[in-house]
Symmetry: C2
Subunit: 537 residues, 2 copies
Amino acid sequence: MHLFILIVLIACSLAAAPASQPASVPLKVEQWGRFEVALPGPREGNPFLDVELSATFTWNEIARTVRGFYDGDGVYRIRFMPPAVGVWRFVTRSNRAELNGRAGELTVTAPSPGNHGPVRVAGRYHFAYADGTAFVPIGTTCYAWVHQPEALEQRTLATLKASPFNKVRMCVFPTAYKKGGDEPPRFPFERSADGAFDHARFNVAFFRHLEQRIAQLGELGVEADVILFHPYDKGTMGFDRMPAGDDDRYVHYLVARLSAYRNVWWSMANEFDLMHEKHDVDFDRLFQILQADDPADHLRSIHFSARMYDSSKPWITHLSVQNGAAVDDFGRASLYRDVAGKPVIYDEARYEGNIERRWGQLSAEQMVEHCWLGTIGGTFVGHGEVLRDQSGESWTSRGGELRGQSAARIAFLKSILTEAPPVSPIDRFYETHVGGRAGEFYLVYFGSERPAEWAFQLPRIGLEEGMTFRVDVLDTWNMTSTPVEGPAVRLVKQGMYAFAAEGERKIALPGRPWMALRFVRVGAAPTTAVAPVNEAE
Amino acid sequence: MHLFILIVLIACSLAAAPASQPASVPLKVEQWGRFEVALPGPREGNPFLDVELSATFTWNEIARTVRGFYDGDGVYRIRFMPPAVGVWRFVTRSNRAELNGRAGELTVTAPSPGNHGPVRVAGRYHFAYADGTAFVPIGTTCYAWVHQPEALEQRTLATLKASPFNKVRMCVFPTAYKKGGDEPPRFPFERSADGAFDHARFNVAFFRHLEQRIAQLGELGVEADVILFHPYDKGTMGFDRMPAGDDDRYVHYLVARLSAYRNVWWSMANEFDLMHEKHDVDFDRLFQILQADDPADHLRSIHFSARMYDSSKPWITHLSVQNGAAVDDFGRASLYRDVAGKPVIYDEARYEGNIERRWGQLSAEQMVEHCWLGTIGGTFVGHGEVLRDQSGESWTSRGGELRGQSAARIAFLKSILTEAPPVSPIDRFYETHVGGRAGEFYLVYFGSERPAEWAFQLPRIGLEEGMTFRVDVLDTWNMTSTPVEGPAVRLVKQGMYAFAAEGERKIALPGRPWMALRFVRVGAAPTTAVAPVNEAE
């Protein structure tokens, strides 16, 4: 065995280690940690084009092949996120002898506390970490936050740390900038003397910086929803209109660098349908590359402006939707879910903001209402904020500080959902105010209505006479949860379709908007399995 | 060439000809007409099982193979709906020598007036006949109308003739009946002495009757949305729980008999998810048979109760949806369309009725509102009526007469749509009251709102300063269309997203519910192509 490893980084968590940090054998990494092999190789020619490198990791009958990448200065790296505990073996393959046939053994240990693995789809419409721990996406958007001055990026990290957000949508490529103004500190490609970008020579400093930020998000428990392409270049840098071969090479390179970061999600594009130089078949091809290259099988989506990409394609794991209308009234959010048969995230449901564009004019109350309407519809709603500062910039454009009022209320919603089972609509053809898990947990949301009382009524599905529930009155704006006094509510059948509270008990409400009720079963479990409502003609 | 044709029926339209009517050579049929070859063959054994028969029809490089079927009394038939004008050749194939290798030539002539061919999907979300004539489905449901006494079936046909409906959902298999009460006159299978159904012996009288009714619907211009399976047997006859092989044979037989009727649509099942003896893979298999056997490629859908079938599967041409909530408020109907990327028919959006079940309690006003809300959302809504007569039966159960108030208003809607281009939402994230075709035609619907005036405002897409429109005030309940007096409305830009009327002109409305406005462009066409709204971050 020709084992010659120059540098091995053993990343036991997502903590980013400096590229030069040496490590010694035996090779060891925790499950879903980041293992890295660094090998010296050729510097001459164009290593990005000339050198092919990959490694196959095997464990029992499982084999995973990952691409290596050139990281400059004659160093090639191979990264791998092992999906199972045990002793893995690996061997490299390359068109260069010095990089070919390098082999080794890797001991994968149990994950450390707080490492739950990458997020996966769970139960068709929801998410969970690979270890089964529930994950409820509470997302926000900071498109260009990694293309800002260091101080601003640090402020963004500090803001995220103090926020409820556990997912952030962020662009790899910079957005259009004003010459001599907000030029990004780094570009993804090397430039020739005339300033033209050479798509065949990646700027490794750019990608190292991106990785550092993704690792820092991981330390904060924030998933990085990495947007590979976007139309906001507007041809200024041209990254929105590269030839297909350059797009492909970029995707290969990005996946080779990032797929071992367990908090990565792939968003193929933002507003893909505004990228008029590309067609659906281009995105199909890029998704196929993404899927083939990524042994970690991170979540994959694509975001649209007006026309949806075909979400039934097998590489789409969940829907990333722009549609404010779908979550600004009752009974809408769940419809996307019905047809898609996949989780739905309304990543852009308009933004809290004060700009003249109508998509950036939500009041904080409306932004929070959107989140609740999406929640009871069994979907997820992303936050965004375009409250412009003196420079005209905003959180969603480039990060910094949150100035709005919605984030705190979204934290309150998160606290409710953290204690809840996965929420789905219960009886979506008739009861559009109710979400939860039938027979166990319910949220009844009133939006901008101002009821003074609520005549107890829940859809019959999963309920039985005599079940008991404790009830809390939630003020989603003032962020309070107030238990309803007295004994637990006891159910009695009411008509064909519902259960009411024994003694015609009603729930008093304060006559304010943005109220909700929470019901948690405290009595015995149902005696029969819960089935969806069945109504034969 | 061994051409021996016992009986050839040349059906120039959908008119049903008696099975015994002889015809002479030369063989001739019009495009999309029904050609039939009848051949004598074996009577012994079980011809339904023992005899294989098909014919391949060829024209230039086009070949279409259709199955033949046994029609009793030693007669085998092969039916074919030719899709193109010209001289077609055909040859039979069979495992019985006397049915094998029969060949002939068929002259296909131009379709006669009124024959527009089968209905196809057109423009992604709409429908058109094969000759390009628009088809707007105005559907109703009469589940068991072909299992009734002759007099009642004739009354149903008379009702349909006088109605606006151009599509009817109808079951092949009878629904559960009361013993000694409403037993169907015919069953699809022969019975043995003990009354058991023999799934391997079709009752040809049953299918001839079904065909006659389908042909009569065709004469009325009504598409037969033929439901192959349903759960309303409840095991009484057992057709909802036959073994897979029997299901397959039934589908083969039905398609062989019906695919040459140009007004056939296939609905694989009603409330498929209530057929607990079947799984999605069964329906997948049956769809594959349907698709492979049907050379006419008729429309295919499946109707659900609570859980949707995966509508992205390639054999699904359009969605047949049960969901009353999706069309009982603004901004919902189009969401199914967004995700599906296929036409959406809300075939069951609750019914006008007076029964205790909540799905049969719509007022006529609500039923009509559902149709309008679906329409402006770019979808189609089916009518149903469960106003019970003395015997407890209703239009939607078994036909007869319409007693409700919605059908006449649906006729008014049909008159509007007949003169309109295909309707889609225009700016669905923001303007949920507006449907039409951008720059050309608009419907603005107010539902139960009672506005006294409307400040002219249309979404900017496809509009330009100086365009002129004529405007009609539509009372969708009282079925009146009243032109707005004065000169045509002239557009001026208003803000970033809309056009208003020159001179701040407002449209007076009567303060009643169920009003709508219709805008038809009378000025010049737009100077630029119409693109969807583009809003970059």
